[in-house]
């Protein structure tokens, strides 16, 4: 008898998260929980100014404090060729400033002391003499002809431009616009936001002089990439470096890059020959580490009168801060921005992109999205709504006219990606039905007569999740595949390791479910380990919703290798030829005699005690999986809001999410991912941004200014599902971790814009703070959110 897959915690089981056993008991093991003998503590002195020349640094006051063991400055780093480090986008970033500071919060010096209090005292005792320079806080200022040069450290850098890049068919798009009946135009800004994991960044570097081995406990989503980077930067042989990412308190993209604190703690350990712990505080995390977004769009849509879109043009200007340290595939300068409009059947598209340096924190990490896909889908769905409005067509009907149809797959997207599966219209229909769209127009009109403003906003999108394949996707030349290693012990229990790194996604639970599905070993009999480069197989880590599409596929593939060997063992045990052995969940049996069988556990025991002649003993293997394509989940998010015309405050009356992420491994975890993503989407639409004043001061350096939503204001979400299996993934799964963050914001903003449609307002930049909405309502004008924010003394 085959096993009941749900009972053994296989595919489709809403199995409780095994990692939660330790988390809810306070037994998680985070970097800050790790205590090593003789450990010192490091604190970072940061620049109070956004742009200034460093005239001198006097560290004598810090050295005079009892308990201070080391003070690091840029000059000391430079003497060891460590003042600058390479970024993940082929630029350089200052580890500790030598010549200038280029953003507020930049790392200037480090104090290493017996405890963190003394280290902080030491930082306060350092005197830095700054000569202020004019700061630049947006692309317009950056590209002004007389703008001060931010990156004067770079040879041949004559202006503040990072790159010009383009993709798509310019001529075809020009033709489409020439033939169009209607052209819709809209400009907008996707504001700078921050991934803001609850655990900030940190590291403990432990260099052992006697073995020459460097062990680093680190908050990283990609331990193997870090190992390679540390090897290259610090010139330590790769086999002498062990990176351990213990439990992570969230990542959301923030923990992909290499940060100066990591590098400084490593040098400090080498110099002091003691372990050195650096734990970033929340303000340090918010003002200096990888942010998300900060992109301006000029968008155009060319249409026929019947609603058919003929072509789109996008021009983006992206603000990368002082150093171009985006974590993204090397080939694509503005990430996967050109995944925009992938769910629509549009023949022509052209994208031009310009990146600039500013005096703001560096980064451009993919905050819970697959390399700028959040911006792409937000721009797409805001352009779609504006186009529908400009055409005078119903927003749902306009989408229906242009969505790719079920029988059109595989489908080439306007910018050249290949999508492979989906039921877009079905998802839209479910969403419209759930929100009550059919009756809404009348409800909206009647409400308006009574002075109430209601609106519905739709966001439909498919996004590319699961970087790579390795032909197109690499970071610094390292190809984007992933791996899994499975060891089945003789009693049928197992340990699974992958090159991914869970940070809240629940890999310890879901990977075991994939093994259970493939081998019939109960999920509870499988332990999952990740994050230690000395034990885990090489992998590119967890971000871009790539774990299930890539590492998860490797888990299925390695399980199948194990099953193939177990089949040979089963044939041996059953004394039949391998061709006569059939598989059902958890056991092999003889074809035609189902009662004659052996369980996977019996095969495991035989692998260590009774293998056929000529077979290697043991039951373990590994698999490296290079996906043939990205996975393309589809989502339809619809929000219904009410705007208070007297205050501009808006409330979400209902929010419906229809997600098609293919086969769901653990439905409960998928739903958690969607709810978390929608919460972040709501936050970005409603309250969240990191902006700057005219002096380059960061407005959003703490949790009173940078707002994370609480359960109090977060609306409820109604979730629906459609399942279109991914045709190339071993178990038919697609990425899901980021869909709601990516597709959600446009639904909320479109809803508010729908409520304001009668005023003629076409755009309010996020976040839709009450004063912006009220301002738009009373003036009938669009509201731009370009920094600097207006601040009066």
């Amino acid at each position: 008898m085959a096993l009941d897959e749900i009972k053994i915690g296989g595919l489709g089981a809403s199995r409780k998260r095994v990692e939660d056993n330790r988390f809810i008991r306070g037994k998680g093991n985070y970097v800050d929980d790790v205590v090593l003998p003789g450990m010192l503590h490091m604190e970072i002195l940061r620049s109070p100014l956004a742009h200034a020349r460093i005239k001198s640094i006097d560290v004598s006051g810090a050295w005079a404090i009892p308990g201070v063991r080391l003070v690091l400055t840029g000059e000391m780093m430079a003497a060891r060729n460590l003042a600058w480090m390479p970024t993940l986008s082929y630029d350089t970033q200052a580890v500790l400033a030598t010549d200038k500071v280029r953003f507020q919060g930049q790392e200037v010096a480090c104090v290493i002391a017996d405890d963190p209090y003394v280290a902080k005292d030491g930082c306060e005792a350092i005197v830095v003499d700054y000569e202020p320079l004019p700061p630049i806080v947006n692309p317009t200022q950056a590209m002004a002809p007389d703008a001060p040069l931010i990156r004067d450290d770079k040879v041949n850098q004559v202006d503040n431009k990072v790159f010009d890049w383009e993709v798509g068919d310019k001529e075809g798009t020009d033709r489409a616009f020439a033939e169009a009946d209607v052209v819709s135009e809209i400009d907008m800004h996707y504001p700078r936001s921050h991934p803001s994991p609850i655990e900030a960044c940190g590291s403990i570097a432990d260099f052992d002089r006697s073995t020459s081995k460097l062990t680093v406990y680190m908050t990283t989503q990609a331990p193997h990439i870090i190992r390679a980077a540390v090897s290259l930067v610090a010139e330590i042989p790769e086999h002498m470096i062990r990176i351990i990412a213990p439990d992570l308190g969230g990542g959301f993209g923030n923990k992909v890059p290499v940060y100066p604190g990591y590098v400084a703690s490593i040098l400090a350990s080498i110099l002091t020959e003691r372990p050195v712990k650096w734990i970033e505080d929340k303000s340090g995390n918010l003002i200096s580490t990888g942010f998300g977004r900060d992109v301006y769009l000029k968008g155009q849509v060319a249409m026929r009168n019947d609603g058919k879109i003929l072509g789109v043009r996008m021009h983006t200007e992206s603000d990368h801060g002082a150093f171009f340290s985006d974590a993204q595939p090397s080939k694509f300068k503005i990430g996967l921005m050109h995944s925009a409009f992938a769910c629509y059947d549009i023949p022509n598209a052209h994208l031009t992109a310009t990146g600039v340096y500013t005096n703001k924190a560096p980064g451009g990490v993919a905050y819970r999205c697959s390399f700028r896909v959040t911006e792409a889908m937000y721009f797409q769905e805001r352009m779609i709504q504006a186009a529908a409005d400009d055409l005078g067509m119903d927003q749902a009907e306009f989408r229906r006219v242009n969505l790719v149809r079920d029988d059109d797959f595989p489908h080439r997207t306007p910018f050249g990606f290949l999508t492979d599966s989906g039921q877009y219209e079905k998802c839209l229909d479910i969403g419209l039905e759930a929100i009550g769209y059919a009756d809404f127009k009348q409800e909206q009109e009647e409400a308006r007569k009574r002075g109430r403003l209601l609106g519905i906003g739709i966001s439909t999108m498919t996004e590319p999740l699961g970087a790579g394949n390795s032909r197109e996707y690499d970071i610094l030349g390292i190809k984007m595949f992933d791996s899994a290693e499975l060891r089945v012990h003789m009693t049928g229990k197992a340990i699974l390791r992958t090159g991914a790194k869970t940070q809240g996604q629940g890999h310890e639970t879901t990977w075991a479910q994939i093994v259970a599905h493939e081998l019939g070993i109960p999920a509870d009999d499988i332990v999952v380990e990740e994050g230690d480069t000395d034990t885990a197989p090489f992998g590119m880590g967890t971000y871009a919703s790539r774990s299930t599409p890539v590492a998860g596929a490797a888990v299925a593939m390695v399980s199948r290798k194990i099953r193939a060997k177990a089949r040979k063992i089963a044939a041996h045990l059953l004394e039949v030829s391998e061709e006569d052995v059939e598989w059902e969940l958890g056991r092999f049996y003889v074809r035609g005699a189902q009662d004659r069988g052996v369980s996977i556990q019996e095969c495991a025991m035989a692998a260590y005690s009774n293998v056929p002649d000529g077979m290697e003993p043991g039951l373990e293997n590994n698999a490296y999986y290079d996906p043939p394509n990205l996975t393309w989940p589809f989502a339809c998010y619809i929000a219904k809001v009410e705007v208070d015309p007297e205050t501009g405050v808006w409330d979400v009356l209902k929010m419906v999410a229809v997600d098609d992420c293919g086969v769901r491994i653990n439905p409960m975890i998928v739903e958690g991912q969607i709810m978390g993503g929608l919460t972040e989407a709501y936050a970005m639409a409603n309250m969240q941004f990191i902006t700057f004043d005219e002096d380059g001061n960061c407005i959003g350096s703490n949790y009173m200014d940078y707002l994370l939503p609480t359960a109090w204001e977060t609306p409820g979400f109604e979730l629906h599902e459609v399942v279109t299996p991914c045709p190339h993934h071993p178990i038919g799964a697609k990425g899901i971790g980021e869909c709601a963050t990516v597709g959600g914001p446009a639904a909320f903003v479109n809803a508010v814009m729908d409520a304001l449609k009668h005023t003629g307002v076409r755009n309010i930049d996020m976040p839709l703070l009450p004063d912006r909405v009220y301002g738009a309502l009373t003036t009938g004008s669009d509201i731009s959110g370009m920094p600097p924010v207006k601040t009066e003394a």
């Binding site: 409603n686 309250m687 009173m704 707002l707 609480t710 009450p770 004063d771 009220y774 601040t791």
Partner: protein, 290 residues
């Protein structure tokens, strides 16, 4: 987030606490600590000593007194007021504000009197105290004195408390009629500082306003008492014209700054809107616009 070095004392009587404050320069009183501790961790504040008053008995009571006044002791937490079943009968303004102060975590620890002593122009309680004509009782080496709240708050984050004085309780005077009131606050998220907030107190004689007070939160460099707006209400029955006049006068009393919470004009508009909304709750039925 590591504060500078400080000494910590935990006296068990007010006398002992006051003598510690007298004997040590730069000592600070620790009650709920919800502003002081973050400021120390940010190193915006670096007192040499904390005098923790949490172990002093008798400071955690609040309630109506026989003379009709209402007293709130120095260790009464925001949550004590929020959860009180009788507060609303006596002090509707405070009862309305209590659930809006900061967030649930801060409310379990932070204190009413401590918030007034912090003198943050964004503080909700100072606005309520202004609207209610409240006072603070301070105890020092030479005994107690009672200080009206508008004198007590000397400026942003400044009070007239002497270095060796402790604010031991707040007093709301008896009402000269039926007490009504409310509090409205616009915040971007629970726990955010107010974009703008309005505290209203009315003392009604029948349908006529006998006395009124309006305190404004977050729209100036200190808590604002909108005295002209309040004066406009006295003697009226809250007809629409009076309500409008009070709303406009309250907005005119503000001096907000434009910042990431909103423009100065917007904050003024919110003050006027909230004054209207608060007064609308107490307008006689026939005065309300359909």
């Amino acid at each position: 987030m590591f504060p500078s070095r400080f000494d910590y004392k935990s006296p068990t009587s007010l006398e002992e606490a006051i003598s510690l404050l007298s004997a040590h320069e730069d000592a600070k009183v620790l009650a709920g600590g919800q502003s002081l501790i973050p400021m120390m961790k940010l190193r915006f504040a670096a007192p040499a000593m904390l005098v923790d008053i949490n172990n002093i008995p008798g400071l955690d009571q609040h309630g109506a007194q026989s003379d009709g006044s209402y007293r709130i002791g120095a260790l009464v937490r925001h949550a004590d007021l929020e959860k009180s079943k009788t507060l609303g009968d006596h002090q509707p303004t405070i009862a309305a504000a209590a659930p809006l102060v900061a967030d649930p975590i801060v409310r379990t620890r932070g204190t009413f009197v401590g918030s007034v002593c912090h003198a943050d122009p964004q503080g909700d309680w100072a606005s309520c105290m202004v609207a209610l004509d409240g006072s603070i009782v301070a105890q020092g080496p030479n005994g107690r004195r009672t200080i009206a709240v508008d004198e007590f708050v000397a400026g942003p984050f400044q009070t007239v408390l002497a270095a060796d004085e402790i604010a031991v309780e707040a007093i709301i005077p008896p009402a000269s009629g039926t007490r009504k009131g409310g509090y409205l606050k616009l915040e971007r998220r629970v726990g955010d500082f107010a974009t703008a907030g309005v505290a209203l107190s009315l003392e009604m004689s029948g349908s006529t306003v006998a006395k009124a007070g309006i305190g404004l939160t977050g729209v100036g460099s200190a808590t604002i008492s909108a005295t002209e707006a309040a004066a406009a209400l006295v003697g009226s029955s809250l007809d629409d014209a009076t309500v409008d006049a009070a709303a406009e006068a309250a907005a005119a009393a503000t001096s907000p700054r434009s910042d990431h919470r909103g423009s100065a004009d917007y904050k003024r508009h919110i003050v006027a809107t909230f004054v209207r909304r608060l007064l609308a709750q107490h307008q006689p039925a026939e005065a309300k616009v359909a």
